[in-house]
């Protein structure tokens, strides 16, 4: 059996890393009531998101209903499965049923709003614990996101993977050289599933795994990109840049980013411009490639970025330089997040203002943000913004945070009051019921069987009535909340 499955952790305590997130999860589960908001677990692939959800259910002795991207997840299906199991308890009634919506950033419903709304509805009505799992938090619809508690899973540091790999080795009765394990852990770049799969792939049919056995099977490796960049920038002499590039096995986009990130500033302005000219030509070829889907063009990008830059760098004394992953990547990931956030915001505004998000952006963003600055509270309430989204409009992160926080608190206290009210009413209803019960009881004694039935019906009616009253109250107070 596949080791990634065989050694999938069964209990939260068996998971590697992310201790704080796991603690939050088990706390969430232990304190779960029907009022607890669902969880969103998000993070890179292969770091234990799905495993932790299953392990949690196992630890809590809960049943699991999983719905992933390979299942059809249109509005109707989600309502039927998640909605059904969410609002009906399991047969025995003894334990709960955990609903896992895996790959939630890939919900088909994200494309059409009906799906997102259906899920939001299911989440709101859930009578069972629910966990959504996603790679990208902002790939989820804003309304869903705001309904949930978010827990992030981080990529695992290479050295934390090694003990687990060693454990698996000893359970399988294999000896594995430590450098080989280190190599696997390094190449997996924080992805433990990939590490276990790699180990499995290189260990089948062997009782000993050496360092050389590992090299052929790995997730896109980053081990020699450093050599390639060093050689391109002239720190190191190689016979053929092109051959080196073949062994590095990176896409030209990535290599281009690396070279640009490590280029630094050249004192000679002419050379500086020439190096950037080569990079920009390479970049154009990449653009051509994706535009035409004609991958032959990649080779020109390669030549321009490698030989073009190398030519400019000629004459540099070879020596040591620290090659670093491009800093732009970090910026890009924040920028990507920003962009997604902005798009959500615009589409949300657009829906309520009956126009395309493009025209919101081009024409109305200025007045809207002026208004938002003046009445931030009502904007947050109307659109259920989070602090980051509000910040886009008012450009003041601290103010945004404090406003959202105060509104959240207000909401909570309102909800508390509501609950209190509900309880009081329930108590009152109970009292009424017991009062009324005594009356028909006397009747029962006096009358025939037929009449007992009707009496029971009467009781049922009373119950229903008091319930609807409570619901009505709840609805009206809710609507005041939203119409604020």
């Amino acid at each position: 059996m596949d080791w990634a499955e065989k050694y999938r952790p069964r209990h939260l305590s068996e998971l590697v890393g992310n201790r704080e997130s796991l603690r939050q999860m088990s706390e969430w589960a232990r304190q779960w009531t029907t009022e607890t908001p669902p969880l969103i677990i998000y993070g890179k692939p292969g770091i234990g998101k799905t495993s932790s959800a299953w392990a949690l259910a196992n630890d809590m002795n809960w049943e699991v209903v999983e719905l992933n991207a390979s299942d059809q997840r249109t509005k109707g299906v989600i309502e039927k499965i998640a909605g059904g199991s969410a609002s009906t308890g399991s047969l025995s009634g003894a334990f709960r049923k955990l609903i896992i919506l895996d790959e939630a950033d890939n919900l088909q419903g994200n494309a059409d709003r009906g799906g997102a709304r259906a899920i939001a509805e299911v989440i709101r009505q859930a009578k069972q614990p629910l966990i959504l799992i996603a790679n990208d938090l902002y790939g989820l619809d804003g309304t869903i996101r705001n309904l949930c508690t978010k827990i992030q899973f981080k990529a695992l540091p290479a050295k934390s993977l090694v003990p687990r790999l060693r454990e698996i080795c000893s359970m399988e009765g294999i000896t594995c050289a430590l450098p080989a394990l280190n190599d696997i852990a390094e190449q997996a770049s924080g992805d433990i599933r990939s590490a276990v799969t790699m180990l499995y792939a290189s260990a089948i049919g062997k009782d000993k795994v050496g360092e050389d056995d590992v090299s052929i099977s790995s997730k896109d490796s980053r081990s020699t990109i450093f050599d390639l960049v060093a050689a391109t920038l002239g720190y190191r002499q190689v016979t053929s840049l092109q051959d080196l590039n073949m062994t590095v096995d990176e896409t030209p986009d990535t290599v281009l980013q690396w070279i640009e990130g490590n280029l630094g500033v050249l004192p000679d302005t002419k050379k500086n411009a020439a190096a950037y000219q080569a990079l920009s030509r390479a970049d154009m070829y990449l653009g051509y490639t994706y535009k035409t889907q004609y991958y032959t063009l990649w080779r020109y990008a390669n030549i321009l970025m490698l030989y073009g830059v190398h030519d400019v760098m000629k004459g540099r004394p070879s020596g040591y330089a620290k090659i670093m992953p491009p800093t732009r990547w970090r910026q890009m990931s924040t920028a990507k997040r920003q962009k997604l956030m902005r798009e959500h915001l615009l589409s949300q505004l657009g829906i309520s203002m009956h126009m395309s998000s493009a025209s919101v952006r081009n024409i109305y963003l200025c007045p809207v943000s002026l208004l938002a600055r003046q009445f931030p509270q009502s904007f947050v309430k109307d659109y259920s913004f989070d602090a980051d989204q509000l910040n886009i409009l008012i450009h003041d992160p601290d103010l945004a945070k404090s406003i959202v926080k105060s509104i959240d608190e207000e909401k909570k206290s309102l909800e508390k009051e509501l609950k209190k009210k509900k309880k009081e009413e329930e108590a009152l209803a109970k009292k009424n019921r017991t009062l009324k019960k005594t009356e028909p009881d006397i009747k029962v004694q006096l009358s025939s069987c037929n009449e007992t039935d009707s009496a029971l019906v009467m009781i049922d009616d009373n119950e229903k009535e008091s319930e609807t009253n409570v619901n009505k109250d709840k609805k009206s107070s809710q609507s005041t909340l939203f119409n604020f």
Binding site: A201, L297, Y307
Partner: protein, 323 residues
């Protein structure tokens, strides 16, 4: 008689892992999977004609013996690339139990990089949920087009372009079987046109064999509509010498008299320039103009004018070189 009609790439496709030429490390690993009768999900990546499909089919044959087709399913993802394939066909195959006492079956998903990203993400949990009954082998040309979550679930094997020795071994195998005569020069020619793609190599050989049992390099070039490497060198020589009329004439004869496709010619020029000993800055410029022409042709520009303009640029840069 039907022997002669068979396509050689199918006829000579190795049925056993031990018969596969090239990729020794990969074959060694796959062989030990068969010995242990277990395997992880696999992702084969590499250029066309490097043995990905062959390895997958041979692996299935060795795992399942004569009934291999009962437990093996091949899907070409570029034919059926939507999410419904995963939800219906793939799940259907994966969830039913294997035949004949095997512990699992194999689903081979060829050209998996053609799957839409929706379909790929639908595949993620499917690979795990049915891991008991089904192993996946995905094959693709560019692993970058496979989403990370799937890469993380697979053992990745990179198939390298085949070396000259591997091509020679295959050619000799066929030579013996078909009673041909193949000289060292022919091997060189085949290797030159195949560029590490065994399928191309075998196709060229079969094409040439139709013309006669004694194969010559010219037959190989003719059948594949490729210029001889010397002709390409002559063309570049003329350009670098600043002889535009001469270079233009050679170009026209290659394009029109020999019927060589312009993009084929560009590929050959690319390789010739990269091999040539030229100052790096000249090399980069030549390659850049080559790339620009390649792009324009792919966008639908007319080949005659674009190719002549390419040659004119070559002459210009070459002229600087001689000065």
């Amino acid at each position: 008689m039907d022997e002669t009609h068979a396509i050689w790439i199918e006829k000579y496709r190795p049925h056993h892992l031990s018969d596969i030429i090239g990729q020794p490390e990969i074959i060694e690993r796959l062989t030990s999977y068969v010995a242990k009768h277990e395997m992880p999900h696999l992702l084969f990546t590499g250029n066309a004609g490097t043995g990905k499909t062959t390895a997958a089919v041979a692996l299935a044959r060795e795992f399942f013996g004569d009934d291999w087709q009962m437990n093996f399913r091949e899907l070409n993802a570029s034919d059926e690339r939507g999410i419904d394939v995963v939800r219906n066909q793939i799940k259907q195959f994966a969830r039913t139990s294997p035949f004949g006492g095997s512990t699992f079956k194999i689903l081979f998903l060829d050209e998996a990089d053609a799957l839409t990203s929706d379909a790929q993400s639908a595949l993620r949990r499917t690979m795990e949920t049915y891991a008991q009954t089904c192993r996946f082998i995905l094959s693709c040309n560019y692993s970058a087009k496979i989403i990370d979550p799937i890469q993380s679930r697979c053992a990745i094997y990179r198939f390298r372009p085949l070396g000259k020795q591997a091509v020679a071994e295959m050619v000799h195998r066929i030579e013996k079987d078909q009673n041909l005569t193949v000289s060292e020069e022919v091997i060189n020619a085949i290797f030159y046109i195949a560029q590490g793609d065994m399928r191309k190599a075998i196709n060229a050989l079969q094409g040439a064999a139709i013309l006669g049992r004694e194969i010559s390099p010219d037959m190989i070039y003719a059948i594949t509509a490729t210029a001889r490497p010397e002709e390409i060198d002559d063309l570049i020589e003329l350009c670098l010498a600043g002889n535009f009329p001469g270079a233009g004439g050679t170009l026209a004869s290659l394009l029109h008299d020999r019927g060589i496709a312009p993009q084929e010619l560009i590929g050959q020029l690319y390789r010739a320039i990269m091999k040539r000993d030229l100052p790096e800055n000249i090399k980069v410029r030549l390659i850049d103009s080559l790339g620009e022409t390649d792009f324009r042709l792919s966008e639908g520009a007319g080949s005659d004018i674009q190719m002549q303009s390419l040659i004119a640029k070559f002459v210009m840069y070459g002229g600087k070189n001689t000065r």
